[in-house]
């Protein structure tokens, strides 16, 4: 018997964890650009802030996009509810609230993550210490995920944890593409300017896929290839297609215990169908931006419908 509040807590716990990991990855990708090309640093940082949807909040606190300000805002400024520290604290709070739904391994991994990061982010992060901090965040995320996979029963609680993870991941990947879509516009290529190597590398780096892309595509970066990889490639664990497949699978499992069909399953099916069999050339021709906006909106509706279908709230 899973309480609605427990489903809610698990779903959001894993959304928060996933988002914190993605935020760290974005900062890592930004750092790379800032190090290699100081000229476009500010531009890169601003697109990162825009990816997490915090431009206004950021500019209200900082005059411009400087390393110190951005990193502080993204990692440890508690007035920003989506900074890594806030997200980890929220995830841990949720974990406490659903403590009985977690194995002690998952709880202790989450609690330890919070303790270690609280310590690591006590003081402002410098150029020097950033790589270490980012690596800690990555490792701890892997630790929590490992505990989840290694110790949790494959029951409905697990489904809600996974739904949170993949819904958040799909949303994050979509947002990364949305902010960077202009780099992939065919017109850019058509006018003869070669695609900006560093730019596309940043996109791949933001989803930890710079090597797997090369591996699958024999090192030939091109806009269509990258868009296809992130949207449609079912082998790539952060692609839209992969996330949708996982969402669908977990919703089907939950559906089997319901007397009536769940509207959320239909929404997930529609979302999956909107990607299936699509030719990436058509997507780019019709407009990548609109396509992604549509996906982001579908993801939002799906999340809300899951909360309703499974009685997250009274």
């Amino acid at each position: 018997m899973v309480l609605g509040r427990t489903a809610d807590g698990l779903f959001w716990m894993f959304r928060y964890l996933e988002r914190s990991e993605n935020t760290a990855r974005l900062v890592g990708a930004g750092l790379r650009i800032a190090l290699t090309r100081s000229r476009s640093g500010a531009e890169e940082w601003s697109s990162i802030i825009s990816t997490v949807g915090a431009t206004d909040a950021f500019l209200a606190r900082h005059p411009g996009y400087e390393f110190d300000g951005v990193v502080d805002f993204m990692l440890r400024d508690r007035s920003n509810p989506t900074c890594v520290m806030s997200l980890i604290a929220s995830a841990r709070n949720n974990a406490r609230a659903v403590r009985t739904a977690l194995t002690s391994e998952v709880w202790e991994a989450t609690n330890e993550t919070w303790m270690l990061l609280r310590n690591a982010l006590k003081a402002p992060v410098t150029h020097h210490s950033l790589p270490e901090v980012l690596s800690l965040i990555r490792k701890q995320s892997a630790y929590v995920r490992g505990a989840l996979h290694g110790t949790m029963l494959r029951n409905e609680m697990f489904n809600f944890a996974r739904l949170g993870t993949f819904l958040e991941r799909a949303d994050n990947t979509a947002r990364i593409l949305d902010v960077k879509y202009y780099v992939l516009l065919p017109s850019v290529v058509h006018v003869g300017a070669p695609i900006d190597n560093v730019q596309w590398e940043t996109i791949l780096r933001s989803v930890s896929a710079e090597h797997s892309y090369d591996w699958l595509n024999e090192g030939d970066p091109n806009p269509a290839g990258i868009a296809k990889f992130l949207l449609l490639d079912g082998r790539m664990p952060r692609s839209m297609a992969f996330c949708c497949g996982q969402i669908l699978e977990n919703l089907r499992y939950l559906e089997s215990g319901r007397p009536d069909p769940a509207p959320s399953l239909d929404l997930a099916q529609e979302l999956t169908d909107s990607l299936r069999g699509r030719d990436v050339k058509d997507v780019l021709d019709e407009g990548l931006h609109d396509f992604i906006q549509e996906i982001i909106s579908r993801i939002g509706k799906l999340g809300a419908q899951i909360e309703t279908d499974y009685r997250f709230h009274a």
């Binding site: 899973v2 009985t100 499974y310």
Partner: protein
């Protein structure tokens, strides 16, 4: 108590010899290196933190989560001492349950003139809604934590009855777990009775009293005020260990005369609620209307046999400090026996001659609020400043009926492992008792609280107290 104020030490005799229950442990201790123990002692802290055994301190915003310090030297009780204690506790708890039944029914104890009516009916913990109601199995206090102090070789006294929602049992379990992890060899050197079956006993105790409308195996839940409550860790821990639902008021509502919890598949009835929410907050329809922690209408469902509440509403009347002073009479009245465990002498300030005595001897007495707990709002005369004494003099004079006074008891000491080695500190003991219709189970040992500050007599965790693993030796 020793007139000179030299406390009874449970490990060392005045001659320096080792008392029997500690002899095996002491032998083991002799073989340990001080540095290793020091290291283990700090390991224990890290262990507690990562498991998340923390508590929240009311009124302390900066440190929202704290550890209760754990001391690695166990408190040891012999089999004979323990069996004496348990007989006394059982007797006391049977009498308290008879008393609760009586005051909510015929009130014979008042008719007999043994207890003044105003102490019962004028008591804020007395619930008129419970008059004429018999709880399932006729059990009122399913879960009790009787606070015991020791003042000499064979002098054990009850300090408090805690018949509402005693906390601390998770520390009893976690302390043992920690000791087993740190010193596995110790437990082959000394035969200690296990406590790890407590959650099983608790579950059985809760299942033993299903409500009338329960069908089949009772569904059990722990009702918590939520993650901000100081004892939240314990609520989650017990629910987890029992395999019970951990519920908040927002998960519950009244449906078809039952209490139902909101699951992902709809509302499902709960049969037994181990509620860690005080009476006042339990039901905004019947008690405090501003409470967000309870369930509107739950008391009516309870009275109609739709749910079992553990402990029953209205048990607080048995453990306030004014009734406490009558417990020996209560035991005699309901059991016809002499009390096996004594009380600490208590002056009820509501009585003029008692008040006069208290005011005259304030600097030697401990003064407590009738409904106080957790070491808040109390005065320890010998340790108090002139100003605190003056404040309490004022409080006592203006609201005497709100206070009792007791002599400052010289609690026994057990050594702690301090930087400089073993050092005696004052302790008390809270055994945990489970009451079923046909039996009473007392976990061997309980929670030993220790005042870590040298000479201090206040053991409450909220006032800087720590805990120890508590051993009852096998016969």
């Amino acid at each position: 108590m020793d007139k000179e104020g030299i406390p009874f030490d449970e490990m060392f005799m005045a001659s320096g010899g080792i008392r029997r229950p500690y002899s095996d442990y002491h032998q083991w201790l002799e073989d340990q290196h001080a540095r290793r123990l020091q290291q283990k002692s700090s390991e224990a802290d890290a262990l507690f933190r990562s498991v998340g055994v923390t508590f929240n301190v009311y009124g302390d915003k900066d440190a929202d989560e704290r550890l209760i310090p754990f001391d690695i030297v166990p408190r040891i009780i012999s089999a004979a001492e323990w069996s004496k204690l348990t007989r006394g506790i059982e007797q006391r708890i049977r009498a308290i349950n008879s008393f609760l039944h009586d005051i909510y029914h015929r009130q014979e104890i008042i008719r007999a003139g043994t207890l003044p009516a105003k102490l019962v009916t004028g008591n804020s913990a007395f619930l008129p809604q419970m008059i004429g109601v018999t709880p399932p199995g006729n059990v009122y206090t399913h879960i009790v934590g009787t606070d015991i102090i020791r003042t000499g070789e064979s002098e054990f006294l009850v300090l408090e009855d805690n018949a509402r929602t005693p906390s601390g049992v998770s520390y009893m379990l976690q302390n043992r777990e920690t000791m087993l992890q740190m010193f596995p060899d110790l437990f082959s050197a000394v035969n200690v009775r296990p406590v790890s079956d407590y959650p099983r006993h608790l579950r059985r105790c809760l299942s033993d009293c299903p409500p009338e409308r329960c069908e089949g195996r009772p569904v059990i839940g722990v009702l918590t005020p939520g993650i901000h409550n100081s004892a939240y860790f314990e609520h989650a821990f017990l629910a987890d260990q029992m395999g019970a639902e951990l519920l908040e008021g927002q998960d519950l509502r009244v449906a078809d005369g039952r209490i139902a919890m909101r699951t992902i598949r709809g509302y499902v009835p709960v049969d037994v609620l181990y509620r860690r929410v005080d009476d006042d907050f339990l039901d905004p329809l019947n008690f405090r209307p501003d409470s967000l922690l309870g369930v509107a209408g739950i008391l009516d469902v309870y009275r109609a046999g739709g749910v079992t509440l553990v402990n029953a509403p209205g048990t607080g009347v048995a453990d306030d400090k004014a009734i406490y002073s009558y417990i020996p009479d209560i035991i005699r009245f309901y059991t016809g026996e002499a009390p096996l465990l004594g009380n600490v002498p208590t002056w009820r300030c509501s009585e003029p001659d008692h008040l006069a005595y208290a005011l005259d001897n304030l600097s030697e007495l401990v003064v407590k609020e009738i409904h106080g707990s957790g070491g808040y709002g109390m005065l320890v005369g010998p340790a108090a400043s002139k100003q605190e004494l003056a404040e309490f003099r004022q409080l006592l004079s203006s609201r005497p009926e709100n206070y009792i006074a007791q002599p400052t008891m010289c609690l026994s000491t057990v050594p702690i492992f301090a930087r400089s080695g073993l050092a005696p500190r004052h302790v008390d003991l809270r055994p945990f008792v489970l009451v079923s219709p046909d039996r009473i189970h007392i976990s061997p040992g309980g929670l030993t609280r220790v005042a870590l500050k040298e000479g201090s007599l206040v053991v409450n965790s909220s006032q800087g107290g720590g805990t120890k693993d508590t051993w009852v030796l096998e016969d």
